[in-house]
Assembly symmetry: C3
Homo-oligomer: 506 residues x 3
């Protein structure tokens, strides 16, 4: 059944062991990464560029040994197998081989961008580390925020890793995991679920401890607990995020002690405009240059309200209109809302190739948005406080439960409506639930972190939490104090002229 | 190891390839439906009546090829395998063979019924389509409403398909799926979950795109979004339902553009009395005549409050008393409430053979019903408005949370109690939660769709949704307007004499 | 490929068939517990002390047959296989062999304890029954309360069974299941989920009906429904619990009719101080004496507020300080809260070996506790009623939602704070949600069951449920009556001098 038929093949230089065909002869140095026995021994071996099975009647070599083998390739049950004729110890520095193959072969960005160039060293180290995990058969677990930006970031890294794995002969089924986080940070519940999944993979399939890659989450103080917990259990984590780390000293954030690598534009003096989907897409192209989906970074940027020139470049490159891209993003957000903790494997991808599906969902979202607006606007209370147009709305009373768009998005829509024809005035909109206020503003007159700072001082028993940008954010608190908090924010607006003095007092 | 021992077997006419026994010789025309290679090639082949594996050292034939093969059958790892001796191309119209085997062999109903006879063509086309899926190794995904009627419908189709699959040598484990829908329609969340499951089946096991069968759901305007979404992704769907499609023109409903087949008694001028469990049971017997569970359509009918003569026939055929059947239905509803999204595989079936289990659950339900009634009745506010006995009850305040029976059923029980000794008067009972009113009536004085129509006109900002029959239904709305809505319904009762005039105004 | 190389091995006495090595000869009497055919027959056989595979070309013997076999052991795909040379019927009482091997080999407790000695017969019968299940290849399903005591109990039984299974050659992957119950009893939802899982195991893997072991739950009247339901479906159940069964007559409780074995200290006149984790740990050591984790019973005891001398002994034996042990328990409770219905496989275990992880979680818990206390204490209403310091707090208004510690624990912390410097006075603290009051007391002036008894008499429509100890418990009711119930409890405090008279009236 062996096919030692073709001497010409013997001469072929086989770099990627995964590209062997039946009848090829392979001679080379490999690392043993798995051994199944007894009976005939089946090794899984890597030559640093690919992975293949190699069989021999018996052998004393073990996992992690570096050996030189030679033999003919043969197919068996759909997989290539090298039938080892000779095997002997090889004394070489195999690490340097892996190190070399892990070097990204593509190191150019898909668009010209000073922002991206500034971040180039991060792209190099992170793409190399992820490629190394693939070449070493280490599983990769992706965690990402469950909105359009985070999901797109997750898809980019997932698919580029999948492609690379397939190219080098590794089974993505056991080596690639992706889960959405509903919270805008790496929540402790997600951490524990990940650990349980890892324990199962390791016990069940004898896999290595995975590399954790956190996307569109991971950079902020809220992430410290989760990252610290994972680190205490010996996990290596990489974060690619564009949210404000708040505290940065000497290019170090609060989460850095727990990470092996951290890409965040703020660290290099940039802002959140280069969103996670853009960063992850470029990174994905460094991980595996054959991967591409030029619409993806454009969709991520549009849904995250990016307005830098890079977004225009991505839109131009996508071959789609801004409206088409925006509708894909809207559909992703809608599906993510419905699926909750389900990663939606295979479904989000379909949106990039099925415009009819995108259209159906967008019609539904438009209908839902109209309903939520019509239900809330008549009950919005709008006041002119000290020149600020401040509106409040009780979301529990005036919105439909369990209906998309959810309260957070509804406040955004209400705010956009209130702002029409008042663009030059400062407009602030507060939507409240029993234990949360969602804030939207068109101008940074009352930055959310300032509001929170003041509330903490004035109403300490309310245990104010939350955060956000200058013009958008959420404030959480003990329910009993809702009315007092709303009144306090109105007072903050009233006192705004004197705001600076108050600041200096602290 | 071959058993070419018995020449007599060679002469046997083997119609169903799945019935081959070790030592039998098979000669016939088959379609290749799966090919595993390299090494010895393992084909999965269908002769249109059954499925079997067939092995050969090597072969250039591929999936979808029609070939004539001959060889002896042999057992291997518990499965029959034809050891192919001869194989050659066959130029026949295999489709017509599948078409013939897909014809239902049983086409009689288990009871005499003019209603069923009127629907006979639907039974023929749907049973044939489902049988064809089985013969072509196409997976079948069943979605059904999660109440006794829907679950019984689901069980009937599941078990008849399972039996047919086993008879023809197909593994139900990879080809048959069943999930309950908690909403009374094919909700978009369920749709997305189904798509994710399908993507997993197809990627993981190389299965075909499944045929979707929707039972006791699927006919109404609320189903349009889900069905349209599935259709846009290329799914074929069949609906068997008895709910009012509301809009029917030339025997076409709003959902028909998205379905390949649609059985609903309303389309033929009938009503909801022939419930989904009855329809599915008769269909199941056409799919596989060896399937039977004569109690099933009776249980479905009783729990769905059917009162046609067909129900009496089913009860008579079941060999059980009405009370026994009703208690099985009650137990199904109770278990479905507890299991939520879990299909309860194996558990519902047990109720048909374990009277002790049925008894234990019914005792518990009776206890819970008593508690809910005792807690609510003293706080029921009953008025005589314009000759109508109208009662209201706050279900959030006066019922036990997370306790069966749930609020919807509690309103039914309260209503039945209020009606006692007032059967001749119009009695209307309203149970309300913060964003919903459940309506029960003994006479169609205030049909739910009329109530909704009027509310929509009078209180548009409340975004009234919902629907139901003339005497039962649910009204959903924005929470803020609850009191105004209740008052409006009372006014509708007050103005009832003038109702006709108002109608004409519109 | 056979290794009949070593005549010396033939003489070895092989008691545990699972300890066979390649080349060993085995001769002995075994029970066939599984048969795979056709092709060469693969039997799974047990000699009463271990399980192994045995192959033969063909055989008419079947599952449950007792046979004498002889043959050499050989490895195949990582498993030992006996290549049967001779096989013949054996007429012996195999049951008595299993019975003998099921006898626990270790029957001593890890500490000296009169309490444990009093319960010795229960330890014997239960450990023997569980060992028998392992030796007979019967799956074991463990259900336990989802707090530190229950989880520790679950881990002890799980790991001791796992170790025994591995020692005798049974695969724990198919034979050992563990699930947490969030309710403090064997809830009907959990029952139905267990049945569905069992049906899947039996149908999918051809397993036997499992033995159900319920830990830290199962003894109380609330458990009757679940146990009765399981019993009606033919399940055998064992309960190991320390909660008060309330009704005990002639050493029989309300749940005994449904159990095969029941260990509860109350049955022998003891109390809840010997907690489930202690009982299960000692039991685990009888199941498999090689299992040990001396910290486990100490952690269970501390978190369940045990204060018997046995706890001191366990703490001493643990080699850890009380504080270290307490912090492990706190971490278990925190993780259980986050994981909800997930059994957390592999995660809880890590707490016993990873002090850094324990420290991180405890810091988080301390922070959360501080927040909850600071938010509630200023709004606590404390009165002196008839010499009793009675405090009330609205937990929905004054605590953070979805934040650990949850309301139940918060009331405990508030109560502890109120009691400081008032230890000699009777202090009672009531924390309320819309449909529940949580009670904590330092002295049994108002035992929870007395409060409930009185409420049931005075406010029957509120449908009072719940229970607890003398100084701690929960009262559930119809939401509408919250204020009336609080007032009634205050009145009960007021009338306390006359309490006895009222009692006598009933």
């Amino acid at each position: 059944m062996t096919n030692k038929n073709n001497d010409v093949f013997e001469q072929r230089t086989i770099k990627n062991i995964a590209a062997l065909k039946s009848g090829d002869k392979f001679t080379g140095i490999v690392k043993i990464i798995k051994k199944i026995h007894p009976g005939p021994v089946i090794f899984t071996v890597s030559n640093g560029y690919g992975v293949a099975d190699a069989v021999i009647k018996d052998s004393a070599f073990n996992v992690d040994d570096i050996v030189e083998i030679s033999g003919y390739a043969n197919e068996r049950a759909g997989k290539i197998q090298i039938e080892i004729e000779k095997i002997r110890e090889a004394k070489i520095d195999f690490d340097s081989i892996i190190d070399k193959s892990s070097e990204p072969s593509n190191t150019s960005f898909t668009i010209e961008s000073e922002r991206l160039e500034k971040l180039r060293p991060y792209f190099h180290s992170i793409s190399k580390r992820i490629r190394r995990a693939v070449f070493e058969n280490q599983p990769i677990m992706i965690r990402h925020h469950a909105d359009s930006d985070g999901i797109n970031a997750g898809l980019a890294i997932e698919y580029s890793c999948k492609l690379l794995m397939e190219q080098i002969g590794v089974n993505p089924g056991y080596n690639l995991y992706r889960s959405p986080s509903r919270a805008p940070f790496y929540e402790i519940t997600d951490v524990f679920k990940d650990v349980v999944l890892v324990k199962k993979i390791i016990e069940g399939h004898g896999q290595k401890k995975p590399l954790i890659v956190i996307l569109d989450n991971g950079s902020t103080p809220d992430d410290v607990l989760g990252l610290k917990t994972m680190k205490s259990m010996g996990f290596e984590m990489i974060v690619v995020d564009h949210h404000n780390p708040v505290i940065i000293e000497n290019k170090k954030t609060l989460v850095d002690p727990y990470l092996s690598l951290h890409l965040n534009p703020y660290i290099e003096g940039l802002d959140s405009q280069t969103c996670a989907g853009m960063l992850a897409y470029e990174l994905a192209r460094w991980i595996c240059e054959d991967y591409f989906n030029p619409s993806l970074p454009a969709v991520a940027g549009i849904t995250d309200r990016s307005n830098i020139k890079e977004l225009e470049d991505y839109i131009n490159k996508s071959g789609k209109t801004r409206k088409e891209l925006e509708e894909i993003g809207t559909a992703i957000d809608f599906i993510a809302y419905q699926l909750r903790f389900n990663p939606g494997k295979g479904l989000f991808e379909e949106l990039y190739t099925n415009p009819e599906l995108v259209k159906i969902i967008n019609e539904e979202v438009r209908k839902g948005s109209r309903t939520q607006l019509e239900s809330t606007l008549p009950y919005l209370r709008t006041q002119d406080i000290n020149g600020i147009i401040l509106s409040t709305i009780d979301l529990e009373k005036y919105t439909m439960k369990f209906t998309y768009p959810a309260p957070g998005k509804v406040v955004g829509m209400i705010h956009d409506t209130v702002t029409i024809d008042r663009e030059i005035l400062p407009v602030v909109t507060l939507g409240y639930l029993s234990d949360m206020i969602i804030v939207r503003a068109n101008k940074p007159v009352l930055p959310v972190d300032k509001i929170i700072e003041r509330l903490r001082k004035d109403i300490p028993h309310a245990h104010i939490e939350g955060g956000g940008h200058e013009c958008a954010g959420a404030i959480k608190f003990i329910p009993a104090h809702l009315q007092e908090i709303i009144q306090n924010i109105k007072n903050q607006a009233k006192e705004l002229d004197h705001e600076e003095d108050i600041e200096n007092d602290n």
